[in-house]
């Protein structure tokens, strides 16, 4: 039981630490921002308080000193210097390490804690108002809030579930004592006869008088973690001397567990924490439901039973809605992922002696959690590369007429059923000729090959390129790029690279919005059925024998004046089927321009639950997965981008495009 609470604390603490880290990094930019100091202080206070409550005593003790330092900054007794912020960031890492450590490793961690605290004392001790010697835990005088000493009457009545949340009322009293002088009276009148007692419930209530400099909010903060599972009243004691000129009589605030402290608290209360695994399970179940529903539609149609068809349709509508809702639950805004990189940029900037500012755009764009988790590494490598090889040293930048401080910009936006995530920098860009020379040297391409710029840049993603450290003085963009490529491909995404010499480069990751279920179009080729992602398809037209004859054997169709290359799936997949009198072309937008895909018949919409084909088929490029149809048979899901790409490579077909040049963006650079 206790472990469960500890786990909950760990999760919560991780989030708080992220917020703390981001506050510290912002503070580094704006040293006088009191709001940020307050944010950092509150985060530290929360970690200290709940850490002590859940038995993370080492964390509580360690955080206590850092919190003190921020309290001094808050009161203007200490300056937020670069050193102090850097040390605080080290402290954040330390708290993280303490959270994750298995018991038994305390000594090594404790040594680091001691080092950090010693440095902190040296820093704070050098300030004008020296820090009070760190007092023994338990009797720290209040973090003074400017004001007068006042008496508060506090009534604290634990609710039925207070102890079950892992809270310990005695520790709360102890924490109150840290604010000032406390007189406590336990109210035992509600303790029931022994036999009727719930042994895990706190029946005792407390009436207290606290003499302190702290205000009502500071007192309430002590109870912040039991908010909602107790009744709390904090009132200025009637006998308390009201200072003349203290303004209007102190407001009498009365609050029970239901009355939350502020609007942002209310916002929190309206959401609940659910384990990601449960959501995965939900999506999995919805996936199965979608499959069964498809079978129901099929059976209803076969029986020609009107009533059953009506029910099947209704269930179909509900399933679609359920699917969208459950998928939506798994999406998270990209902001938190972006924010995480602030720290990376800060650390790398210090070690590379470069000044780099990280800016965001589109942080509210939402992505499936699975996708987000797998995005961390690629983005990290891209940012590292930009920092290491893209952005120049300050003096080089100045010489080139740029500002000394470089910028890395992360942006995200929706584009149809995909999300585009860009990492751009204003560094020196990629040396195209050097990449090309290297590619020729490695035998990836013929020396006289005519290549577009993006074709050249795509060599950067080739596995061999990444490990070749010696090219790092050429353009360098190689380290970890195959990691980027592999992760992005695992997400069925693609990568585009663009660069302007002297003014920077842009790497664009193109990712599907959701992973598990897509809207598809079911088509038939011979006896086999395939699914095409509906997001890509544009229109469906008929292909007659006459059209074929008119094209002189070329795989080109004239659709309202536009010449569109097509791929006959039965030929491409080498299926021996008779060509029907009328075929149909599904026209789809691919990364390589518009392409037509010739099929025997378009069957219709299909909610497609994507199943992986497994490792055995991972080299099959044109199929991105499989799905189970209503009648229990399996249909393969076609990857139209790759189909088009493969055809471009293996033949002379060049797509007719108005807007987009053919871009081999998938990253396979095969010689």
């Amino acid at each position: 039981m206790i472990d469960k609470y500890k786990q909950a604390f760990r999760e919560e603490a991780r989030e708080i630490l992220l917020d703390l880290e981001s506050a510290l990094l912002d503070l580094n930019e704006n040293r006088d921002d009191t709001e940020l100091v307050g944010r950092a202080f509150r985060a530290l206070h929360t970690i200290k308080g709940s850490g002590a409550m859940f038995g993370f005593d080492a964390i509580a003790a360690f955080t206590h000193d850092i919190e003190n330092a921020f309290d001094q900054i808050r009161n203007g007794r200490l300056k937020a210097t670069a050193d102090l912020i850097s040390l605080s960031l080290a402290a954040v890492d330390q708290i993280k390490a303490m959270l994750e450590e298995a018991s038994g490793q305390e000594s090594a961690v404790a040594a680091t804690s001691a080092q950090i605290l010693a440095k902190l004392r040296a820093l704070t001790g050098a300030s004008e108002a020296p820090v009070k010697p760190v007092p023994a835990a338990g009797i720290t005088p209040a973090p003074a809030i400017a004001g007068t000493i006042r008496e508060w009457h506090i009534s604290f009545r634990p609710g039925a579930d207070l102890l079950r949340t892992g809270a310990n009322p005695l520790l709360l009293l102890r924490e109150l004592r840290q604010l000032g002088t406390l007189q406590v009276k336990a109210d035992t009148s509600t303790v029931p006869p022994l036999a009727e007692m719930d042994p895990e419930r706190c029946y005792i209530a407390w009436d207290m008088v606290l003499t302190t400099l702290a205000d009502a909010d500071a007192i309430r903060d002590v109870f912040i973690f039991v908010d909602g599972s107790c009744e709390l009243e904090v009132e200025p004691s009637p006998s308390s001397p009201q200072e003349a000129g203290a303004g209007p009589a102190a407001p009498i605030e009365k609050r029970t567990g239901e009355g939350r402290r502020s609007s942002d608290k209310e916002a929190q209360a309206s959401s609940i924490r659910v384990a990601a695994a449960k959501l995965d399970q939900l999506v999995d179940l919805v996936g199965q439901l979608v499959t069964v529903q498809a079978r129901l539609v099929e059976v209803a149609a076969r029986r020609e039973d009107r009533d059953m068809q009506a029910v099947a349709e209704e269930i179909e509508a509900l399933t679609t809605e359920l699917r969208e809702t459950s998928m939506g639950m798994r999406t998270l805004p990209l902001r938190s992922t972006f924010e995480r990189f602030k720290r990376l940029v800060y650390d790398l900037g210090r070690s590379l002696h470069k000044e780099v500012e990280l800016t965001f755009e589109g942080g509210e764009t939402e992505l499936d959690k699975t996708v987000l988790d797998q995005l961390n590494d690629p983005l990290m490598h891209l940012i590292r590369n930009s920092m290491d090889h893209g952005i120049e040293a300050p003096d080089v930048r100045r010489a080139a007429g740029k500002s000394a401080s470089g910028t890395i910009h992360l942006s995200a936006r929706h584009a149809g059923a995909q999300v585009l995530i860009c990492v751009s920098d204003d560094g020196k860009g990629i040396d195209r000729e050097a990449v090309r020379a290297r590619a020729v040297e490695k035998g990836l391409v013929e020396a006289d090959a005519r290549l577009t710029e993006s074709e050249i840049f795509s060599f950067i993603l080739a596995p061999g390129f990444s490990t070749a450290r010696e090219v790092s003085d050429v353009s360098g963009r190689g380290v970890g790029m195959d990691v980027v490529r592999r992760n992005v491909e695992a997400l069925r995404g693609s990568i585009e690279i663009a660069s302007q010499p002297g003014s920077g480069s842009v790497v664009t990751l193109r990712l599907p919005l959701t992973l598990a279920i897509i809207d598809g179009l079911l088509v038939r080729v011979g006896q086999a059925r395939f699914v095409m992602p509906l997001g890509n398809t544009v229109e469906c037209v008929e292909l007659t024998r006459q059209d074929i004859a008119n094209a002189n054997g070329k795989h080109l169709a004239n659709i309202r004046g536009e010449i569109i290359p097509y791929i006959r799936l039965s030929e491409y997949l080498q299926m021996r089927t008779d060509r029907p009198e009328r075929e149909q072309i599904m026209v789809a937008e691919t990364e390589h321009g518009r392409f037509g895909f010739v099929v025997d018949q378009v069957i219709g919409d299909h909610q497609t639950v994507i199943k992986n084909l497994g490792r055995l088929y991972r080299n099959v490029q044109v199929v991105s997965g499989a799905t189970i149809l209503g009648d229990g048979t399996v249909a393969l899901i076609l990857d139209l981008h790759r189909l088009a790409q493969n055809v471009i490579r293996s033949s002379s077909i060049r797509p007719h495009t108005k807007a987009r040049p053919p871009v081999p963006t998938r990253g396979e650079v095969t010689a």
Binding site: L170, L173, T188, M197, C202
Partner: protein, 119 residues
């Protein structure tokens, strides 16, 4: 932590050892009910207890009230360890919820005097 009840002809001894907290409060309740319903004099041995949390304190309080009502003696034998006494005092109790009988070897017939924690 350990909670034991030794029953003998003359009376019982409830012995608490180590940290007594919410994780064993159900067990403590069971033992206390058993002890008090034996109808005999019950002593509480805290000599080896290191910590009592609020659940333990309120269970002892309820047992003490029960015993008083039933006219059975329920008292701490010997001393309340200093830190426990202090903690109970910090929790706003004027005295330890169970009366304390001074350490007299045979605690047979001494009526339980109302004691205070020794801090």
């Amino acid at each position: 932590m350990s909670i034991t009840f030794d029953d003998s002809a003359t009376g019982g001894v409830v012995r608490l050892e180590g940290e007594i907290d919410v994780t064993c409060s159900a067990e403590l309740k069971r033992v206390l009910i058993e002890a008090i319903s034996s109808g005999k004099e019950v002593q509480l041995d805290l000599a080896r207890a290191s910590e009592l949390d609020i659940t333990a304190v309120q269970l002892l309080l309820a047992t003490s009230r029960e015993a008083e009502k039933a006219g059975v003696s329920f008292a701490v034998a010997g001393e309340v360890p200093g830190n426990i006494g202090r903690a109970v005092c910090e929790a706003g109790f004027d005295s330890f919820p169970v009366s304390v009988i001074p350490k007299v070897a045979p605690a047979n017939s001494t009526p339980p005097p109302t004691g205070t924690p020794d801090d």
